[in-house]
Structures are given as C-alpha cells and as structure tokens.
Amino acid sequence: MATTLVFDHRRIEEELVRIQQQSAPTEARATILNLLVFADRTSRDQTEAALGVVLGKRAARIILVVNSDSAESSIAVSARCYLDPERRSVCLQEVIVENGMDQRGAAVNSWSPLLIRDIPVYAWWQLELNPEDRLLLSLRELADKVIVDSEASFAGEETLKRIVELHDSLSMAVSDFAWLRLKPLRLLTARAFDSDALQNRLRSLRRLSIVGAPPAFSRMYVGWLASRLGWRRESNTHFVGPGGTMAAEVPDVVATRDATSSLIVEFVFENGDPIRIHSSGSGTAVVEGGDLQADECAMGLPPTGELLMQNIDSAYSEFLYLDAVRSWLGES
C-alpha cells in the first residue's frame, strides 16, 4: 500500500515505520542496505520486477527517483515484507520520488536525508551515463557503489569510456550488469583453453570474431581476453600480443540483448583448425573444434533482479571488469 506525502522527511520516516509494521507479520529483520534507483518511466516495470527478486532476501530501503512528465514532483512510500525460512519478516521499504518538471524530486536533498546511516548505499543508475550530470556526481558523496548496465545504455565506445571515468576520475566503485552476463562465456572459454598446449595456441590467435552478441558484451569479452593474455590494443580492430597481431571483429549494433540463441565466437589461429563457441539453441553454449574436447555450459540470460542481487553485497569494483574495459579501450 503506498501513501502519498509531501517532502517532509520526519513524516516520511514515521509513515515508513507505520506501513512496515502493518506489512510485517512477524518481527522484521534489520535493514542492511540502501538502494537508490534512478530510472525513467520506460524502465519502471523492469525496475519493479528486479526489486521483486530482492524482496525476501535482503532487508533494504529503496529510494526510487523516476523522471516523469508531471508538473510537480511527488513522493510516496510503501513497504513490502516477506517471511523468510525462519519466519522473520524481510522487508523492503520504498520511497518513490516522481521527479516532475519542477525538478524538485531530482534535488539531492529531497531524498538524501532518508538514506539510513551506517549501512551501504548502492546506486542503480538507469539514465544516460554523463559524468558531468550533477545528480550522478552527487553520488560520489552519497553512494558506495554505482551499478550500471552498459548494454542497456550502450552508445558506442563512449559508454565504456564514461564508465572508466566514473571509476578513475570520480573515484566511484562501479558494477556493470553486462559484465555479469559475460560470466558463463568466460567460464566456457577458460575451460576450453585449460591446458598448456591450448594456452600456447592462443599465442598464435590471428582473428577473433563475434557475431550474434550484444556490442558491450562482445567488447568486454575481447577486452577480458586481452587483459588476461597480455594483448595490447593497437588500433580499432587489432591487438598485439606475445605471439603477434590479432584482429578482433565485434558487432556494432544492438541486434540482440540476448546472447543465448545466436552467439558465435570464432578463434582462428595461424595454423590448425579454428575453435568455435556457439549457442546450441537450448540455453547452452558449446565449444568445439581444433583438437579440444567438446564442452558446454548453461548460457542463459539471468533476470535483471538476479544481477542486482549479485551487486548489493559488496561495495567495490571488480578489478577484472575494469581491466577488461580498459584493455578494450586501449588504456591499459
């Protein structure tokens, strides 16, 4: 049940307590994190679905700032609780700020006093990544980590550059859903090349092409390989490594957000048969070719809620992710 209020922080706190008490059938667990979400109307449904995954697993205070077309900004509160296996209530307190044309909702001091002190603050940024955006800059002081989805907001190389800038220049810890989606492919690749002979073979890689995968995903994959294997970007399309030069071909357009059904990664070596990783069409990816033993692993597209869950227990950037992005950009 949501209650609409004016921007009165004390009243908002009282109302949150009252609503949570009504919603919680048993003693509620302590809140352990704040989650700030910056979204627009088009992503509201997806956001709600993702928060539904968090419900019952982490007791949290959510402050959702949504851009709207209304003349005036407004604020509403609600609470949802879920009984955990020990019959304790795990609650999400929600403060929903509709930022109207008056921009009052986007003003930091409209909602920042509602952040609970002494517990982590994660900021899920779903808007355009502009490092000069005042609201984004304010998170330097307010948030422990910024969570983005470079795939959803992909606008070419610039997107990845802005992510690095957020971390390096603005000293913000950053997590990226696109990086997490890459994990099954990284695992399959690591397993495929898990022998001295095949590791050596990678030194003679001459072409790596990726089709049927989203652009940020593809670039991070190449960047990851480069950072792990010591390749350096020489031009837009070529990397130089210990064994020579490798040409990387990646898609530019967002043909698909889903790499599960159409992915093909081809490793072409100086000598010998190529090795391919491709979707099997049934939720897995298969690696075969050359003289390696065929292998497969699950290659599903995890729901956004699951990706969010993976991000809200730690307040640091994963260095492998940043290394991969920098390697792609040629900044390592």
Binding site: A30, V90, R186, S195, L229, L320
Partner: protein
Amino acid sequence: MAHNPLFAGLESVQEPPPFAITIFGITGDLTRKKLMPALFSLYSKGTSRFKVLGFARRDWKGEIVKNKAQEMLEGFPGAEGELLSGFLQRLDYVESTFEGKEGYRRLAAALSDYPNRIYYLSTPPGSYESIIKNLGPLPRGDGYTRIVVEKPFGRDFATAQALNRLLADYFREEEIFRIDHYLGKETVQNILVHRFGNGIFEPVWNSRYIDHVQITVAEDIGVGTRANYYEQAGTLRDMIQNHAFQLLSLTAMEPPHSLDAERIRDEKVKVLRSLRPITFRDIRNRTVRGQYDGGFMNGQEVPGYREEEGVAPDSRTETYVALKLYLDTWRWSGVPFYLRSGKRMMRKLSEISVHFRRPPLGLFRNRHPALDQNVLIMRIQPEEGITLNMNVKIPGYTTDMRPVNMDFAYGSAFGERTLEAYERLLFDVILGDSTLYTRRDEVEESWAFITRILEGWRQDDQSLPEYEPGSSGPAEARELLRREGKRWRRL
C-alpha cells in the same frame, strides 16, 4: 598445467571435474534427509558432471532407485521438470551386501568411466570394516579416490585408532574425510571469521580478560527411535566428543598462519593436546552426568529415559553431560571451559559464550555480580548471530546501570535459506578441501581424552542424577559452576 589466467575471478563457479559418488547404505535415513537433497542442490547450482551409485542390499535396481530418489526429493525447491529428470538420469545402483565380493566387481565396472571416485559410508559403523576391506583392493581410476566416513568414528580411543589403521591400510590420509556435520554449518565456520577477520577481539581473547567460557549443545528431543544406538553411545560420545569439541577447538585455537586446511587443523589439534586430563580422582569434581526423567514437555507427557522403548530399566547411559575443562596453554591458563550437552532440555540450542572478567574497580553503585561481566555470545543455532552483552547507564539522576544486548547483525537480514551443512561438506569433498573435516590425530586426541572419562565413569558407581524434562539439566550441573561463583547461561 601452469596457472590458467582465464580462470581468475571464476574460481567460485569453477565446475569440478567429472566424478562418481558411491553411497553405501543409500537406502537409509541420512541419504533421504541429507545426502540426496544436497546432491540435487549441487546439481541445480551447476555441478553436473557426476554419477551417483547406490550400494545396498535392497532391490533398488534400474528405475527403482530413480523413483526412490524422486520420493526423497518430494517438495524440495526446484525438484521438478527437466531439472529433476536430468538429475535422476545420473543415478545408478548396485544391489549387494557389504560383504559380497561380486557386488564390488560390479561396482568397479560401473565406475570404469569415472577417473574420480568418492565412496560415502552411510551405514552403521559395524559395516565399515567389510566395506573398507573390499574397497581397498578395487582398481582405482586415473584421478582421485576419496572416502567419507560418518560419525561415530569409533566409540573410544582403541576403536577409533583401529578404524584409522584400517583406513590407512588402503587410503592415504588426504583421501580420508571424517565428517562432523557441525563444521558444515555457516555459523560454526563464522567462528573463524569472527575471531580472525576482526581486529578487535584477538587482543582480549586470553586469560587476562576472560573469566570463563561456556559451550552448550542442547536438544529438546528424547532418544526417540534411536535407543539401540544411544544405549551404546550416550551423550559424551554422541555430542561432546565431536560437536562440542569442534566448538571448543575453534574457540580456543591459536590463529593459523594461513587458511590452508592442514594449518587450521594443526591448531585445532593443539587445543585437544593441551586439555588437562580428567582422571578418576577428578571425575566427580569436573564431570556431571544425568538422565532425563519422565514428566511434561510442551503440554505432552513424556517418558523418562529408562522408560523409553529399547532402553534397559537399569541403564546407566547418560543423556546429559557437563564438563569443566582446562587448557594448559599460555593463552588459557586458569580459564575454565564449561561444556554441557543433553537431551530433553528446555530448548534446542547451541552456543558459545565468552564471559569476560569484571572491571578491576567497581566505580558504580548498584553493582551486582551478574551485571558486571560482559559476555560475548556466538549463537550457532537457532537465531544465528553474535551478541555482546554490556552495561549502560539507566536514564535518570543516578549512575545506576543495567545490561543491554548489542546484536552484531551477522546474517540477521539475510532472508535466504543458508547453505545446508551437507551441501557444503559434499562440495568440499568433491573439491578435495578437507578444512571442514576431522583429521586422524584430531579424532584420536579427542577420543583419548573422552576415553579417560568413560573409564572413570565405569569405575564410579554413583547413581546418575535425574533431571526434569524441559529443564536445563540436573542440579549437580548447576553446582559445578556455583561453587566457583558462576552460573550457567539460562537456556
């Protein structure tokens, strides 16, 4: 091969190499309640390259074992549809007695495609010898061979040592995994994190600041249908020798210099070696045993222990034990460790409480002995967490004080079901990580200490005191602390 840089950051999701696990006694309760759900859970989380073989006397061949497994997983989260059928396809069965050599030949044939093999002994201890002697000569795969042995691991020092010797005839120590499922509990593992992952506790974790430690492993149930086993075991063997001693070791050990399994186990063994023996002369001063009486619990009438089915009317098997222990080390010299465990107690509860010394000077009025001590409580189950009990000022004109609890929120907001102990332990066997398993010397040291007490009790003809069901144990246990000016924590 040399280190594969592509695996960096993926260690936690790395799938283990293919393996086959043979469960001896698959038709029993442990498989139904713990092992099958744990294996399914591992499968559902991505461990897929394995085969499960049952080895038992009943006719569960072919589809029967799959149907039985499906029954075992009834109601288990996710056990349906393609996921369940994918798991069931991995099951197979060898019908055989544990003595039958032909059965082991068929087992060897069934395992031939699996270089990595795990043998899980989920049988009564009486069957261990046959199984081990038949497994030993079986041809091995090209990978690893591991054997998992459930508790009880022996029933005294001699039998534990004999079992260790028998295992050592056929398996190397690193291939032997002795289970104590308490070590699989998240909260037990958290003792190490609590002590060595925080800088504030270790400086005061010694005799200068700690007055005494209490360790409680209490159950609210009676022996139920386990009287046959329990009459031969008793609480000292069933709970103290293993679970309570694990909690003692983790609480009292020195910091290891790494998280390597052997370094941690080295430190735990040192604790057991430093236990001051309880001789026959000390039996009545430092040990208490009792039996639960008949009465009422939760509104129901319950029988006394000697009235339970399968228990001899003149049984001297204890259902309650309290011990006063000392560790002769620099860190713990003079600090008593009080351990207690029992059945039909007020509630099911396991915890470690560390009672700190009183302030050297009593500055405040209304100073009451019970108010002075700070207590750090590590709750193992239920209500997992850590509480620090401290004194604060009562609002008002005076400086009177009262105790309050500060709860450290370990897991207090996690609404997820924590990892089942057996799931964690099985995964560790698969990975070959023995940190959460008991080493040979650890088992023998604990049995050496316990066996002395058993011998002392055998020679002591004092009758066993009874205690009311739903209470905190016999009055003699309260006296054990009262004469030192201390009290047990209320259950």
